[in-house]
Protein backbone atom coordinates (compact mmCIF):
# COMPACT_ATOMS: atom_id res chain seq x y z
CA UNK A 1 0.00 0.00 0.00
CA UNK A 2 2.63 2.49 1.09
CA UNK A 3 4.82 1.17 -1.73
CA UNK A 4 2.24 2.19 -4.31
CA UNK A 5 1.87 5.74 -3.01
CA UNK A 6 5.64 5.93 -2.98
CA UNK A 7 5.81 4.97 -6.66
CA UNK A 8 3.14 7.50 -7.51
CA UNK A 9 5.13 10.28 -5.89
CA UNK A 10 8.33 9.39 -7.71
CA UNK A 11 7.38 9.42 -11.40
CA UNK A 12 8.13 12.38 -13.62
CA UNK A 13 5.42 14.16 -15.51
CA UNK A 14 5.38 14.20 -19.33
CA UNK A 15 5.99 17.53 -21.07
CA UNK A 16 2.59 18.95 -22.02
CA UNK A 17 0.86 16.99 -19.28
CA UNK A 18 -0.48 18.74 -16.22
CA UNK A 19 -0.74 17.60 -12.66
CA UNK A 20 -4.17 16.33 -11.72
CA UNK A 21 -6.68 19.09 -12.42
CA UNK A 22 -10.37 19.14 -13.25
CA UNK A 23 -11.40 19.99 -16.81
CA UNK A 24 -12.65 23.41 -15.71
CA UNK A 25 -9.31 24.33 -14.14
CA UNK A 26 -7.42 23.18 -17.23
CA UNK A 27 -9.63 25.28 -19.52
CA UNK A 28 -9.14 28.32 -17.27
CA UNK A 29 -5.37 27.78 -17.57
CA UNK A 30 -5.58 27.92 -21.38
CA UNK A 31 -7.88 30.97 -21.28
CA UNK A 32 -5.45 32.84 -19.00
CA UNK A 33 -2.57 31.90 -21.32
CA UNK A 34 -4.48 33.05 -24.38
CA UNK A 35 -5.37 36.36 -22.72
CA UNK A 36 -1.77 37.07 -21.67
CA UNK A 37 -0.42 36.08 -25.09
CA UNK A 38 -2.94 38.32 -26.89
CA UNK A 39 -2.05 41.20 -24.57
CA UNK A 40 1.69 40.78 -25.21
CA UNK A 41 1.15 40.43 -28.98
CA UNK A 42 -0.99 43.57 -29.09
CA UNK A 43 1.67 45.46 -27.11
CA UNK A 44 4.38 44.28 -29.53
CA UNK A 45 2.46 45.46 -32.60
CA UNK A 46 1.56 48.75 -30.90
CA UNK A 47 5.16 49.46 -29.79
CA UNK A 48 6.55 48.68 -33.25
CA UNK A 49 4.44 51.34 -34.96
CA UNK A 50 4.27 54.09 -32.38
CA UNK A 51 6.10 57.39 -31.95
CA UNK A 52 5.18 57.62 -28.27
CA UNK A 53 8.34 55.98 -26.92
CA UNK A 54 12.01 56.76 -27.43
CA UNK A 55 12.86 55.14 -30.76
CA UNK A 56 16.12 53.30 -29.82
CA UNK A 57 14.27 51.51 -27.01
CA UNK A 58 11.85 49.86 -29.43
CA UNK A 59 14.08 46.89 -30.49
CA UNK A 60 14.88 46.08 -26.85
CA UNK A 61 11.20 46.31 -25.91
CA UNK A 62 10.22 44.01 -28.79
CA UNK A 63 12.80 41.39 -27.77
CA UNK A 64 11.72 41.53 -24.12
CA UNK A 65 8.05 41.20 -25.10
CA UNK A 66 8.86 38.24 -27.38
CA UNK A 67 10.75 36.43 -24.60
CA UNK A 68 7.88 37.13 -22.18
CA UNK A 69 5.38 35.70 -24.64
CA UNK A 70 7.49 32.58 -25.18
CA UNK A 71 7.48 32.17 -21.39
CA UNK A 72 3.69 32.47 -21.31
CA UNK A 73 3.41 29.79 -24.02
CA UNK A 74 5.79 27.45 -22.16
CA UNK A 75 3.93 27.78 -18.86
CA UNK A 76 0.27 27.88 -19.92
CA UNK A 77 0.29 25.80 -23.14
CA UNK A 78 3.23 23.40 -22.74
CA UNK A 79 2.86 23.21 -18.92
CA UNK A 80 6.58 23.38 -18.20
CA UNK A 81 6.80 24.15 -14.48
CA UNK A 82 9.49 24.24 -11.81
CA UNK A 83 7.90 21.32 -9.95
CA UNK A 84 10.02 18.34 -8.87
CA UNK A 85 8.25 16.05 -11.38
CA UNK A 86 9.28 18.42 -14.19
CA UNK A 87 13.04 18.51 -13.57
CA UNK A 88 13.97 16.50 -16.67
CA UNK A 89 11.82 18.65 -18.96
CA UNK A 90 13.31 21.87 -17.58
CA UNK A 91 16.87 20.55 -17.88
CA UNK A 92 16.30 19.59 -21.53
CA UNK A 93 14.84 23.04 -22.15
CA UNK A 94 17.80 24.71 -20.44
CA UNK A 95 20.27 22.79 -22.62
CA UNK A 96 18.30 23.68 -25.76
CA UNK A 97 18.33 27.36 -24.79
CA UNK A 98 22.08 27.20 -24.15
CA UNK A 99 22.69 25.90 -27.68
CA UNK A 100 20.30 28.49 -29.16
CA UNK A 101 22.11 31.36 -27.42
CA UNK A 102 25.52 29.99 -28.45
CA UNK A 103 24.44 29.70 -32.09
CA UNK A 104 22.65 33.04 -32.41
CA UNK A 105 24.86 35.09 -30.10
CA UNK A 106 28.09 33.59 -31.41
CA UNK A 107 27.10 34.07 -35.05
CA UNK A 108 26.05 37.69 -34.62
CA UNK A 109 29.16 38.47 -32.57
CA UNK A 110 31.66 36.89 -34.96
CA UNK A 111 30.03 38.18 -38.13
CA UNK A 112 29.82 41.76 -36.86
CA UNK A 113 33.56 41.65 -36.09
CA UNK A 114 34.26 40.27 -39.54
CA UNK A 115 32.19 43.06 -41.07
CA UNK A 116 34.20 45.66 -39.18
CA UNK A 117 37.63 44.18 -39.79
CA UNK A 118 37.12 43.05 -43.38
CA UNK A 119 35.18 45.72 -45.26
CA UNK A 120 34.54 45.15 -48.98
CA UNK A 121 37.52 45.94 -51.24
CA UNK A 122 36.25 49.23 -52.69
CA UNK A 123 35.59 50.59 -49.20
CA UNK A 124 39.03 49.34 -48.11
CA UNK A 125 40.77 51.16 -50.97
CA UNK A 126 38.84 54.35 -50.24
CA UNK A 127 39.99 54.17 -46.62
CA UNK A 128 43.67 53.94 -47.59
CA UNK A 129 43.92 56.35 -50.49
Amino acid sequence: MSDQTHMHVEHDIAPGDEEQHSVGERIIGYVVGLGLALLLTATSFFIAGTDLVWQPSIPVALIVLAIAQMGVHLVFFLHITTGPDNTNNVLALAFGLLVVFLVVGGTVWIMSHLNQNMPPMDQFIRMHS
Binding site: D12, I58, I63, A66, F77, L78, F95, G96
Partner: protein
Amino acid sequence: MSMTATVGRAHADPHHIGVVVEHPGPAPKRTVTAYGFWVFLLSDIVMFSCFFAAYAVLVSQTADGPKGSEIFEQRNVAIETVCLLLSSFTCGMASIAADVRNRFWFYLGMTVTCVLGLIFLAIEFREFADLVSRGYGPSRSAFLSAFFSLVGCHGLHVSAGVLWLLTMMAQVFAKGFRADVLRRMMCFALFWHALDIIWVGVFSVVYLLGSGV
Protein backbone atom coordinates in the same frame (compact mmCIF):
# COMPACT_ATOMS: atom_id res chain seq x y z
CA MET B 1 9.53 1.75 8.32
CA SER B 2 12.44 3.00 6.24
CA MET B 3 9.97 3.63 3.40
CA THR B 4 7.92 6.05 5.48
CA ALA B 5 11.09 7.80 6.56
CA THR B 6 12.12 8.29 2.92
CA VAL B 7 8.72 9.60 1.93
CA GLY B 8 8.72 11.96 4.88
CA ARG B 9 12.11 13.39 3.97
CA ALA B 10 11.20 13.54 0.29
CA HIS B 11 8.27 15.68 1.30
CA ALA B 12 10.52 18.14 3.08
CA ASP B 13 12.86 18.28 0.08
CA PRO B 14 10.79 17.74 -3.08
CA HIS B 15 13.82 17.73 -5.40
CA HIS B 16 15.44 14.83 -3.47
CA ILE B 17 18.83 16.52 -3.35
CA GLY B 18 21.20 14.27 -1.46
CA VAL B 19 18.45 11.81 -0.59
CA VAL B 20 18.72 8.23 -1.81
CA VAL B 21 15.32 6.94 -2.91
CA GLU B 22 14.48 3.47 -4.12
CA HIS B 23 14.16 3.33 -7.88
CA PRO B 24 10.49 3.36 -8.82
CA GLY B 25 10.97 1.37 -12.04
CA PRO B 26 10.52 2.51 -15.62
CA ALA B 27 8.39 5.59 -16.22
CA PRO B 28 5.00 5.17 -17.93
CA LYS B 29 5.13 5.00 -21.71
CA ARG B 30 3.25 8.30 -22.03
CA THR B 31 6.03 10.09 -20.13
CA VAL B 32 8.81 8.43 -22.12
CA THR B 33 7.18 9.16 -25.50
CA ALA B 34 6.41 12.79 -24.70
CA TYR B 35 9.88 13.35 -23.27
CA GLY B 36 11.52 11.97 -26.41
CA PHE B 37 9.32 14.20 -28.54
CA TRP B 38 10.17 17.17 -26.32
CA VAL B 39 13.88 16.57 -27.00
CA PHE B 40 13.11 16.43 -30.75
CA LEU B 41 11.22 19.74 -30.51
CA LEU B 42 14.18 21.37 -28.76
CA SER B 43 16.51 20.16 -31.52
CA ASP B 44 14.04 21.56 -34.06
CA ILE B 45 14.22 24.90 -32.23
CA VAL B 46 18.03 24.71 -32.41
CA MET B 47 17.70 24.23 -36.17
CA PHE B 48 15.45 27.29 -36.38
CA SER B 49 18.00 29.26 -34.37
CA CYS B 50 20.50 28.65 -37.22
CA PHE B 51 18.02 30.19 -39.68
CA PHE B 52 17.51 33.11 -37.27
CA ALA B 53 21.28 33.60 -37.02
CA ALA B 54 21.62 33.54 -40.82
CA TYR B 55 18.80 36.07 -41.11
CA ALA B 56 20.37 38.36 -38.49
CA VAL B 57 23.67 38.32 -40.39
CA LEU B 58 22.17 38.85 -43.85
CA VAL B 59 19.37 41.30 -43.01
CA SER B 60 21.28 44.33 -44.31
CA GLN B 61 22.71 42.64 -47.43
CA THR B 62 19.93 43.80 -49.74
CA ALA B 63 22.06 44.12 -52.92
CA ASP B 64 20.15 47.33 -53.84
CA GLY B 65 16.93 45.32 -53.63
CA PRO B 66 14.05 46.11 -51.29
CA LYS B 67 14.51 46.48 -47.54
CA GLY B 68 12.25 44.73 -45.06
CA SER B 69 10.30 47.90 -44.29
CA GLU B 70 9.40 48.23 -47.99
CA ILE B 71 7.86 44.76 -48.42
CA PHE B 72 6.32 43.81 -45.06
CA GLU B 73 2.62 44.38 -44.45
CA GLN B 74 1.93 44.63 -40.74
CA ARG B 75 -1.81 44.04 -41.08
CA ASN B 76 -1.32 40.62 -42.70
CA VAL B 77 1.24 39.64 -40.07
CA ALA B 78 -1.16 40.63 -37.29
CA ILE B 79 -3.91 38.44 -38.80
CA GLU B 80 -1.46 35.52 -39.17
CA THR B 81 -0.34 35.94 -35.55
CA VAL B 82 -3.88 35.96 -34.18
CA CYS B 83 -4.79 32.91 -36.31
CA LEU B 84 -1.86 30.90 -35.00
CA LEU B 85 -2.42 31.97 -31.40
CA LEU B 86 -6.12 31.07 -31.49
CA SER B 87 -5.29 27.75 -33.17
CA SER B 88 -2.87 26.99 -30.33
CA PHE B 89 -5.73 27.62 -27.89
CA THR B 90 -8.22 25.42 -29.77
CA CYS B 91 -5.55 22.72 -30.03
CA GLY B 92 -5.30 22.83 -26.23
CA MET B 93 -9.10 22.49 -26.01
CA ALA B 94 -8.97 19.49 -28.37
CA SER B 95 -6.30 17.78 -26.24
CA ILE B 96 -8.41 18.28 -23.11
CA ALA B 97 -11.38 16.78 -24.98
CA ALA B 98 -9.19 13.83 -26.01
CA ASP B 99 -8.15 13.28 -22.39
CA VAL B 100 -11.79 13.12 -21.23
CA ARG B 101 -12.72 11.14 -24.40
CA ASN B 102 -15.32 13.58 -25.65
CA ARG B 103 -15.58 13.05 -29.42
CA PHE B 104 -17.71 16.10 -30.23
CA TRP B 105 -15.41 18.68 -28.62
CA PHE B 106 -12.35 16.86 -29.95
CA TYR B 107 -13.55 17.04 -33.56
CA LEU B 108 -14.74 20.63 -33.11
CA GLY B 109 -11.44 21.77 -31.58
CA MET B 110 -9.36 19.99 -34.23
CA THR B 111 -11.50 21.36 -37.08
CA VAL B 112 -11.18 24.95 -35.84
CA THR B 113 -7.41 24.42 -35.39
CA CYS B 114 -7.18 23.09 -38.95
CA VAL B 115 -9.16 26.00 -40.45
CA LEU B 116 -7.07 28.59 -38.57
CA GLY B 117 -3.86 26.84 -39.69
CA LEU B 118 -5.05 26.86 -43.30
CA ILE B 119 -5.93 30.58 -43.11
CA PHE B 120 -2.41 31.22 -41.82
CA LEU B 121 -0.89 29.23 -44.69
CA ALA B 122 -3.09 30.96 -47.29
CA ILE B 123 -2.03 34.44 -46.12
CA GLU B 124 1.62 33.42 -46.08
CA PHE B 125 1.42 31.82 -49.52
CA ARG B 126 -0.24 34.93 -50.95
CA GLU B 127 2.50 37.11 -49.46
CA PHE B 128 5.22 34.90 -51.00
CA ALA B 129 3.51 34.76 -54.40
CA ASP B 130 3.07 38.53 -54.37
CA LEU B 131 6.77 39.10 -53.59
CA VAL B 132 7.92 36.68 -56.29
CA SER B 133 5.62 38.26 -58.90
CA ARG B 134 7.12 41.68 -58.14
CA GLY B 135 10.60 40.25 -58.80
CA TYR B 136 11.54 40.03 -55.13
CA GLY B 137 12.01 36.25 -55.04
CA PRO B 138 14.59 34.46 -52.90
CA SER B 139 17.27 34.89 -55.58
CA ARG B 140 17.01 38.72 -55.54
CA SER B 141 19.30 39.35 -52.55
CA ALA B 142 20.91 37.61 -49.58
CA PHE B 143 18.35 39.29 -47.32
CA LEU B 144 15.46 37.83 -49.31
CA SER B 145 17.11 34.37 -49.40
CA ALA B 146 17.37 34.40 -45.61
CA PHE B 147 13.82 35.74 -45.26
CA PHE B 148 12.30 33.09 -47.53
CA SER B 149 14.21 30.23 -45.89
CA LEU B 150 13.33 31.26 -42.33
CA VAL B 151 9.65 32.06 -42.88
CA GLY B 152 9.25 29.30 -45.49
CA CYS B 153 10.72 26.72 -43.11
CA HIS B 154 8.18 27.70 -40.47
CA GLY B 155 5.44 27.52 -43.12
CA LEU B 156 6.57 24.00 -44.09
CA HIS B 157 6.34 22.98 -40.43
CA VAL B 158 2.81 24.35 -40.23
CA SER B 159 1.86 22.46 -43.41
CA ALA B 160 3.24 19.24 -41.94
CA GLY B 161 1.32 20.02 -38.74
CA VAL B 162 -1.95 20.37 -40.66
CA LEU B 163 -1.37 16.98 -42.33
CA TRP B 164 -0.62 15.44 -38.93
CA LEU B 165 -3.77 17.07 -37.52
CA LEU B 166 -5.94 15.47 -40.21
CA THR B 167 -4.23 12.12 -39.55
CA MET B 168 -5.06 12.41 -35.85
CA MET B 169 -8.73 13.12 -36.61
CA ALA B 170 -8.83 10.09 -38.93
CA GLN B 171 -7.16 7.88 -36.33
CA VAL B 172 -9.59 8.89 -33.60
CA PHE B 173 -12.44 8.30 -36.05
CA ALA B 174 -11.15 4.84 -37.02
CA LYS B 175 -9.57 3.59 -33.78
CA GLY B 176 -11.14 5.66 -31.02
CA PHE B 177 -9.28 7.10 -28.03
CA ARG B 178 -6.79 4.23 -27.67
CA ALA B 179 -3.70 4.75 -25.50
CA ASP B 180 -1.36 4.90 -28.52
CA VAL B 181 -3.62 7.37 -30.34
CA LEU B 182 -3.72 9.56 -27.24
CA ARG B 183 0.09 9.53 -27.08
CA ARG B 184 0.28 10.68 -30.71
CA MET B 185 -2.30 13.37 -29.99
CA MET B 186 -0.14 14.58 -27.12
CA CYS B 187 2.93 14.81 -29.35
CA PHE B 188 0.88 16.68 -31.95
CA ALA B 189 -0.26 19.23 -29.34
CA LEU B 190 3.37 19.76 -28.25
CA PHE B 191 4.39 20.23 -31.90
CA TRP B 192 1.64 22.75 -32.60
CA HIS B 193 2.40 24.81 -29.45
CA ALA B 194 6.13 24.78 -30.30
CA LEU B 195 5.35 26.13 -33.80
CA ASP B 196 3.51 29.03 -32.17
CA ILE B 197 6.55 29.75 -29.98
CA ILE B 198 8.75 29.88 -33.08
CA TRP B 199 6.25 32.18 -34.79
CA VAL B 200 6.57 34.59 -31.83
CA GLY B 201 10.27 34.83 -32.67
CA VAL B 202 9.55 35.21 -36.39
CA PHE B 203 7.04 38.03 -36.15
CA SER B 204 9.07 39.89 -33.53
CA VAL B 205 12.49 39.59 -35.17
CA VAL B 206 11.61 39.54 -38.87
CA TYR B 207 8.46 41.59 -39.27
CA LEU B 208 8.35 44.04 -36.32
CA LEU B 209 12.09 44.69 -35.93
CA GLY B 210 12.49 44.65 -39.71
CA SER B 211 9.78 47.22 -40.37
CA GLY B 212 11.48 49.71 -38.08
CA VAL B 213 14.86 49.52 -39.84
